[in-house]
């Protein structure tokens, strides 16, 4: 059985370093709702690849600098 993967993100930190960008401003930039940004930030929703790339582009960084993953049960 495939191991469970938990997707983590650095959006909160990146927003802070991007002139304290608000969730609403990020949502507008990537064409999503504020609710979606809140959920992604809290790890409650894993975005599609397209949205993930758009978020990375909004911060001018590579996608790997925004999103990472942990394999559950892996030490």
């Amino acid at each position: 059985m495939a191991k469970k993967i938990i997707i983590t993100n650095e959006i909160r930190k990146l927003r802070f370093f991007a002139n304290e960008m608000t969730q609403q401003q990020l949502a507008e930039k990537v064409g999503a709702s504020r609710q979606t940004i809140i959920s992604i930030e809290a790890g409650k929703y894993s975005p599609s690849l397209e949205l993930a790339f758009r978020i990375a582009e909004a911060f001018n960084v590579k996608i790997s600098e925004v999103f990472d993953y942990e394999v559950k049960g892996d030490k």
Partner: protein, 168 residues
């Protein structure tokens, strides 16, 4: 609370009110002896009437909800920035009501729940017929399951907005 959550709550409340109103209406008529259980014309008429009421009520309530929401957003925008113009207010309203991929995923998953409950209700209705219950019982079981399915759809949406959702 987000726009989508508020919309789900409005849809749940509307569905509940219509379902309760249907059962109160039919139970009162049945208790008064105006209708007998086997009078299929009455049951079909009552269901059609409440389907029509449901459609009209949903449209009116959604319009009222969007008007009230737009007014509250406009008031908030004015309170935060007294110099904001109509265009900025319009933009705030549009941003609040934006629908994206997460909304579509939640809608898809909650639709599965709604159709599932309706399907179970259909089977239960057929089982009721096999067990020698009247056709009126079958019709009511089906009507109730479709309505409950629609209400559960709203509850599922609310749950996913609160707890989060994953692909797969």
């Amino acid at each position: 609370m987000s726009y989508q959550e508020k919309k789900s709550i409005v849809s749940i409340v509307t569905g509940l009110v219509i379902l309760i109103a249907y059962f109160v209406y039919t139970y009162t008529k049945y208790q008064a002896g105006v209708v007998i259980e086997g009078d299929l014309k009455f049951w079909a008429g009552a269901m059609l009437l409440f389907i029509a009421i449901g459609v009209v009520a949903t449209i009116i309530i959604q319009i009222l909800f969007h008007i009230l929401l737009s007014v509250s957003i406009a008031i908030k925008a004015k309170a935060n920035n007294k110099e904001c113009d109509d265009k900025e207010i319009e933009k705030s309203i549009e941003l609040e009501m934006v629908s994206d991929e997460m909304d579509k995923l939640i809608e898809l998953k909650s639709n599965v729940i709604g159709f599932g409950v309706a399907g179970v209700g259909f089977v239960l209705g057929l089982i009721a017929l096999v067990l020698d219950y009247s056709v009126a019982v079958m019709l009511n079981v089906m009507f109730a399951s479709f309505s409950i399915g629609s209400i559960l759809e709203g509850i599922t949406q609310l749950y996913f907005y609160r707890k989060g959702i994953n692909h797969g």
